[in-house]
């Protein structure tokens, strides 16, 4: 079953009604808060939403209702949103799921959040996450694990597990997450929702607390492809506060249907590559069956489906786990207890650093900082960091080569279904969750996960990957597939 929409409507329909003055934003926000209570979105059960301020959200809704602002386009008027806890917001804390930032409230707001607000969205909560976005299950949050609303004994995926779970539980129609190696797409797959990782540079990182800057990208989670496209349209675009944000025009991403052509075969002009490296023999046969069925749909929609190869795929996880920790070791150096966040004083500055950082960071963060420090240190820099950069270039080249032949790629999002809480304790096994997603981060290309069906009641995600700034074609294919699958996507 797909998430039950708030007041029976998508985000786009809610916003339209609110903007037209026929539905008060207050009603929508109240419905979201009621749903959150009903499903136990807070720490009492799902633990998807860490911080919330109902009064602030209702106040904001009241402001929208008082000043409808008919002359301002407000494509998300009154739409309640959850924002991952590593994205800076006013009023609500921004803790990155870490003790290190317990109680920290940012004095400024992320560009993506500011754009959501300008579009009329109302922030109702901050999404739980693996500490500093390091994890694939949202079990590594200092504030406790998030449960998967589909099966509360299982993980929602991660690191944007709180945002994905909030959408899956119907608390909000859209949420912001962030990606470094699959942290939006993997939880989207596990929770049966849509998750987009945009092209690197498409969305400003200003206000996204950095994990691995060259890979990080804010992404969106939504119940439908159209709502995801709508949210992405709002937050995308050049930002002078992020030097890596792309000076690339943001096209209209919705409506995402083919503008012309055969309605029954809307993908007739497109070719879809199915890379064999993403369908290993180890892939669970029933997952494979759902994915094959999705490929059949793509073919029926008119697309030419082709077997293709991305030969360096297997190197993505080891490459990722050199580069991401390397950047993290530097990005997380600012958490030193000097200016903000937790300080555990010791005798002298060195001791204060050591105590603050060893007690403020959890074990997975500590592991990655140590790993990253090691691979950047003199004597190992060439063997690890430099080598990984070279492999990264090869992975990007794989995509460049394959996109000379096909418009988009279709793959599984994850190698497994959502696993039970506590089931994966070996860090390396956990790292393998990223095997199909980290490639797109390393190459910087856009990718998304769409629900393609269920196995034993657990969602299976299909991944679409497109060339740089290829979001429009990616979303077209996703929308067509979503429509073709219908309720099959959630059965």
């Amino acid at each position: 079953m797909s998430p039950t929409p708030l007041l029976g409507r998508t985000a786009a329909a809610l916003a339209e009604a609110v903007a037209a003055g026929v539905l008060p934003a207050g009603d929508v926000v109240r419905a979201s808060l009621d749903r959150a209570r009903a499903v136990g979105a807070g720490p009492e059960w799902l633990n998807a939403v860490l911080w919330t301020d109902a009064d602030a959200a209702l106040e904001e809704a009241a402001r929208l209702d008082a000043a409808p602002g008919a002359d301002l386009p407000r494509p998300l008027a009154g739409v309640p949103v959850v924002v991952k806890d590593n994205i800076a917001t006013h009023r609500l804390p921004t803790t990155c799921g870490s003790r290190m930032l317990e109680g920290y409230v940012s004095p400024y707001e992320a560009t993506a959040v500011a754009r959501l607000r300008a579009a009329g969205a109302v922030l109702v909560g901050k999404g739980n996450m693996d500490e500093f976005a390091m994890g694939s299950s949202t079990e590594h949050s200092a504030y406790g694990a998030t449960r998967n609303p589909i099966d509360p004994a299982r993980v929602p995926g991660g690191s944007s597990g709180g945002s994905a779970a909030a959408v899956a539980a119907g608390v909000v129609p859209i949420a912001l997450g962030s990606e470094t190696g699959g942290s939006v797409r993997q939880p989207a797959a596990f929770c049966g929702v849509v998750g987009i990782k945009p092209t690197y540079g498409r969305v400003s990182r200003h206000g996204l607390v950095a994990y691995a800057s060259s890979l990080d990208q804010i992404g969106v989670l939504a119940a439908t492809v159209d709502d995801a496209a709508l949210a992405l349209e709002v937050i995308a675009g050049r930002d002078p506060l992020d030097a890596t944000s792309a000076d690339h025009p943001v096209p209209r991403l919705r409506p995402v249907d083919a503008p012309d052509g055969d309605a029954a075969r809307p993908l007739a002009a497109l070719s879809v590559g199915v890379p064999r490296e993403y369908f290993p023999p180890s892939l669970e046969p029933r997952m494979r069956a759902r994915l094959d069925r999705a490929v059949d749909h793509l073919r029926e929609l008119g697309a030419t489906v082709r077997d293709v190869s991305l030969p360096h795929t297997a190197l993505a996880v080891p490459t990722y786990y050199v580069l991401a920790p390397a950047e993290a070791s530097s990005n997380l150096a600012r958490f030193d207890g000097v200016r903000y966040g937790r300080r555990i004083a010791g005798d002298g500055v060195q001791a204060t650093y050591e105590r603050t950082r060893s007690q403020g960071f959890g074990p997975e963060v500590t592991r990655r900082i140590l790993l990253g420090t090691y691979v950047l240190s003199a004597g190992y820099h060439e063997a690890y960091y430099r080598k990984a950069q070279e492999v990264r270039a090869l992975i990007a080249l794989d995509f460049a080569n394959v996109f000379a032949d096909v418009d988009v790629l279709f793959t599984p999002t994850t190698p497994t279904l959502a696993f039970p809480l506590g089931a994966v304790s070996d860090p390396y096994e956990m790292y393998l969750s990223d095997v199909f997603t980290a490639t797109a981060n390393l190459a910087g290309v856009p990718a998304m996960s769409v629900p393609v069906g269920r196995v034993d009641g657990l969602p299976v995600g299909g991944q679409l990957i497109a060339p740089y700034f290829g979001e429009p074609v990616m979303l077209r294919v996703a929308a067509a597939l979503e429509r073709a699958l219908g309720e099959e996507a959630h059965r």
Binding site: N86, S330, R334, Y340, H381
Partner: protein, 494 residues
């Protein structure tokens, strides 16, 4: 303590040679910081010039200040460097309370510019001495840790954190403290000329670290290098080099090893002592900063900056020598500060007599600035070049004597008024006392008996000459009308 070092080092200088390379950090004269919009004003209250970016709050990102790039490129070009079309910002990672991000954004293996040179004078044989510049790169400054503000804590002031710097790394081409001093003066002058920096050591906008090694004369290899920091003036640099040279020579004489380390100059005791931090064991784990794209400059842009460079000191010295027939020492002093040379050129152009302008600027102006404790900018507010030129005009045409001119000048410096107003107001105490005036007239009549005779005989146009002689004798202070009356009285008996 310092006294024995100098003679001893002279003795050692026969056997050993000092080898010095300097690292000069220059603060770029931008209004805002390198990666955020905070002001760079000096002496603001602690942490007033900070924002989420330079405080390294979670989620903030650096954005490059284009003006800093422009100034850095100007300085690099003026130092004769090749500016690269692509350079890369890198993170230098280390923990320190005044380093908010836990890394400094600098440039490492792809610097902005490389391969310049600095002309530092001439060898005793007259050959030009040149020191090579290895590289010029852009980086941000750190904040300041203040250890003496509170008894039980170190205070951190982040006003300076993120202020744009260039580091000018010199080759180990300098062979004496005097050469080091000359190098520094030229570098300072060049960056000031191109407007890249105020380069003021007192305010910390120019800082120098020295790498010093020694070797036996005739050897060509490099000895173990010792880095010296914490010098707060050019003369401190020169003194520190002498002291360190003596220390290393003494170690060599005693056949003891010279440790590679960082030393701090202590200006009070005039000694160097090892820095406490394990500076040399740091592994900075440099890597390209993923928050900043490579800095790409087109060759057209670079060439436009080169074309827009002002006349550089060496070229200006040559032109001043040529155009105004000035001496080497005079051009040296004038070009020591580009604004002083500008001032001179303005006065000379308006007044016309470059010799007089040079004399006044180099003697009276510098002395007045020194006496009144004025910077040239402050001085210029009081005595504009046109006013000084007007004063020189009055002196040249005899309206004022040199003595009276000097008095007017002093009043100009004091009050900021133009010379005409001062001469008029003070009448320059025009002498109206008939006894004094009569004495001057009598002296002129006695000295110019021939003209007096012709004047009395009716050659009335000589009246002006005779009055002028009296004026001259009075140093321009006599009242010309009264002088005329007295003259006619004496000659015509009226």
């Amino acid at each position: 303590m310092s006294a024995p070092a100098a003679p001893a080092s002279r003795a050692w200088a026969d056997r050993y040679e000092m080898v010095v390379g300097l690292e000069v950090h220059v603060q770029l004269a931008t209004a805002t910081k390198l990666f955020c919009n905070c002001p760079t004003t000096f002496a603001a209250p602690p942490n007033a010039n900070t924002c989420p970016v330079c405080l390294a709050l979670p989620g903030t990102l650096p954005t490059l200040n284009a003006h800093a790039v422009e100034l850095a490129v100007r300085a690099a070009l003026a130092l004769g460097c090749t500016v690269h079309p692509l350079s890369v910002f890198a993170r230098k990672n280390y923990f320190y309370p005044d380093l908010p991000k836990g890394y400094q954004i600098s440039q490492f293996d792809r610097p902005l510019a490389t391969g310049g040179q600095v002309a530092i004078g001439e060898s005793p044989e007259g050959a030009p001495l040149v020191a090579a510049v290895t590289r010029v790169h852009l980086e941000e400054d750190a904040g300041r840790s203040i250890h003496d503000r509170f008894d039980d804590a170190t205070a951190v002031d982040l006003n300076r954190a993120g202020v744009p710097l260039i580091e000018i790394v010199g080759e180990p081409d300098l062979r004496s403290s005097a050469e080091a001093g000359a190098y520094l003066r030229v570098v300072r002058q060049v960056v000031q000329y191109v407007g890249a920096s105020a380069a003021n050591m007192e305010e910390g906008s120019l800082r120098v670290d020295a790498n010093v090694s020694t070797r036996r004369r005739g050897d060509t290899g490099l000895g173990t290098k010792v880095e010296i920091k914490n010098m707060n003036s050019f003369s401190a640099v020169e003194r520190a080099l002498e002291v360190e040279f003596a220390r290393q020579c003494a170690l060599r004489e005693a056949r003891r090893p010279i440790a590679q380390q960082t030393m701090l100059w202590d200006a009070t005791s005039e000694t160097v002592r090892p820095a406490r931090s394990k500076e040399d064991s740091h592994d900075y784990r440099y890597f390209a900063d993923p928050d900043l794209p490579p800095l790409v400059l087109t060759s057209e842009w670079i060439e436009a900056r080169r074309a827009a460079l002002p006349e550089l000191p060496a070229a200006r010295r040559a032109r001043l020598r040529e155009q105004f027939a000035l001496g080497g020492r005079e051009t040296e002093v004038l070009t020591g500060d580009p604004r002083l040379a500008d001032y001179f050129e303005s006065v000379a152009r308006v007044h016309g007599d470059a010799r007089a302008a040079a004399n006044w600027v180099l003697r009276d102006v510098l002395a007045a600035m020194n006496d009144a404790g004025l910077s040239l900018a402050e001085f210029e507010l009081r005595v504009r070049p046109a006013d000084l030129a007007a004063l020189l005009d009055l002196v040249r045409d005899g309206s004022l004597s040199h003595t009276a001119g000097a008095r007017v000048f002093a009043a100009m410096v004091r009050t900021g008024e133009p010379p005409s107003r001062i001469v008029e107001r003070e009448g320059l105490r025009q002498v109206t006392d008939d006894a004094q005036l009569g004495a001057w007239v009598d002296a002129v009549l006695a000295a110019h008996a021939d003209e007096v005779r012709r004047f009395a005989a009716g050659e009335r146009k000589l009246q002006g000459f005779l009055v002028g002689q009296v004026m001259k004798r009075s140093g321009g202070t006599a009242d010309p009308r009264r002088v005329t009356a007295l003259l006619l009285e004496r000659v015509d008996g009226r």
